[in-house]
């Protein structure tokens, strides 16, 4: 133990903590892959959740299939699948390959990795959004119906905004996970935070210092997110007079389908 500690190169650890341009780029890559995948995943989640409650059976089936497939296979597999899959679509090239998005060109692996993470996230967010929608009292929908909204309008204007408050804790968990899971895209050659660490130790072989430093960076990201989440919950819950004691129970407690009216 003493020798191990003695061997810990504190100055190298601190050097890894004070980022160079490469680390800044890697950090930024981690953040934007995570944010884009989360935003797209949440939108997919809303579609999956509302599709799963649709009055039309094909939509319900589709939503069920989606959740089944994307929750039922490893993310790592999905990432490699989309990477090589997009290689098939765009012509099989080696990794330094760009995708023209019109407004910018992006590394192909980043596109594939972000798509994979977003699609995977959609399946999980679908369940969280569904639970949030079910947790909103039927009376809220009925009050919208009786002033003359259709059920679809009631869902969009009345139920979803209230469900948004209820899904934030679950969404917060998911984004926290996303910040870390995004490290998996390193396997298809994206230089995000984890890949940058790999690059660093492959030249210095100082694994412990490098991993300790990158752990601090991940902690920094998740901590910032934690603070953002608290603000988000306060903002969305500003109409509530008292603190919510058990949001988890409200989110995961409801199991039945929504009542329908047409």
């Amino acid at each position: 133990m003493g020798t191990l500690l003695a061997a810990f190169d504190t100055s190298y650890f601190l050097e890894r903590l004070s980022p160079d341009q490469l680390l800044w780029d890697a950090l930024w890559t981690t953040v934007y892959i995570s944010v884009v995948a989360m935003v797209v995943g949440t939108l997919i989640g809303v579609l999956v959740a509302t599709g799963g409650m649709s009055r039309h059976a094909p939509f319900r089936l589709l939503a069920g299939l989606y959740t089944w497939v994307f929750r039922g296979t490893p993310v790592l597999l999905q990432i490699t699948f989309w990477y090589y899959g997009s290689n098939l679509l765009f012509g099989f090239e080696l990794i330094p390959r760009t995708v023209d998005l019109g407004f910018a060109t992006v590394h192909g692996a980043i596109v594939a990795g972000t798509i994979a993470l977003a699609l995977n996230e959609g399946a999980y967010m679908g369940e969280i959004v569904r639970a949030g929608i079910l947790a909103v009292d039927d009376g809220q929908t009925e009050a919208a119906l009786v002033v003359g909204l259709t059920e679809d309008q009631a869902l969009r204007s009345i139920v979803l905004p209230q469900a948004a408050r209820l899904i934030v804790p679950g969404l917060g968990n998911e984004f926290n996970n996303m910040l870390k899971t995004s490290s998996l895209v390193s396997v298809i050659g994206v230089t995000e935070l984890f890949a940058d660490a790999q690059r660093a130790y492959s030249s210095t072989f100082q694994y412990v210092e490098v991993f300790a430093a990158v752990a601090v960076w991940y902690l920094a990201l998740t901590t910032i997110w934690m603070l953002v989440q608290v603000q988000l919950e306060r903002r969305l819950g500003r109409h509530e007079r008292r603190e919510d004691e058990s949001m988890a129970a409200r989110i995961f407690g409801a199991g039945q389908r929504r009542k329908t009216y047409s």
Binding site: V146, G148, L149, T150, H239, R241, S262
Partner: protein, 273 residues
Amino acid sequence: MIDAAETTTTDAAAAVVDARDVYKRYGTVDVLKGVSLSVAPRETVCVIGPSGSGKTTLLRCLNRLETIDAGTIHIAGEQLATDRTGGLLHRRARQHLAAQRSQIGFVFQRFNLWPNRTVLDNVTFGPRRVRGTSREEAARVALELLERVGLEDKAAAYPMQLSGGQQQRVAIARALAMRPSLMLFDEPTSALDPETVGEVLDVMRGLAADGMTMIVVTHEMGFARQVADRVVVMDDGAIVEEGTPDQVFTTPTSDRAKEFLARVLAYGVSREA
């Protein structure tokens, strides 16, 4: 302020509500067994009866919050949208139903105010979203209505900051904001603390006096007696007695109505409306 119809005739063609032989079944339970009810413009009808007699279900059927299994319901001479293709309404029918509902105010036992919207937003939401009324005009009307229910100073409050009676008065203002030709009240005071019941009943009494057409499902016998033009007694999914408050409360004819009234009036007319 209230668009009450001019006419006071009671024939079916001019009726605001005309429900005929309405049947409703939940699973194996017959909740409504052929109920017919016609309500004339400017009329206030109170529906009373024991719990589980089908009062609330009947009221919800009139707004199609519940579908019916047989019979017809006309609101202002127009039939309520009916079931098509496997219990689902077509798109056009759904929109038509929404338009019909926008003419009918509905006040819930549990208020169902939208908790994430202020009192003012609760009242202006319908006119703005459904009628396309401008923000300013909707707010002007909303403030008038809030003043009418005695809550003009609560416009900026959120529902959770209000008492039950205040919330229910906001709910009434929210319904009135759509300028309905009919108001349905589903046990509007049953979820309230006794001391706030009166303030809600006062508002409703004022509406009735102004000529609003109203159907009130209630346990407030005093209110029914004083305010109703007609009292309907329901029991076991059917109307068992119907008449003026005097007829129903003093000389009921059916045994089941007598039984029910004997029970609820055992301690006199419970609350002054």
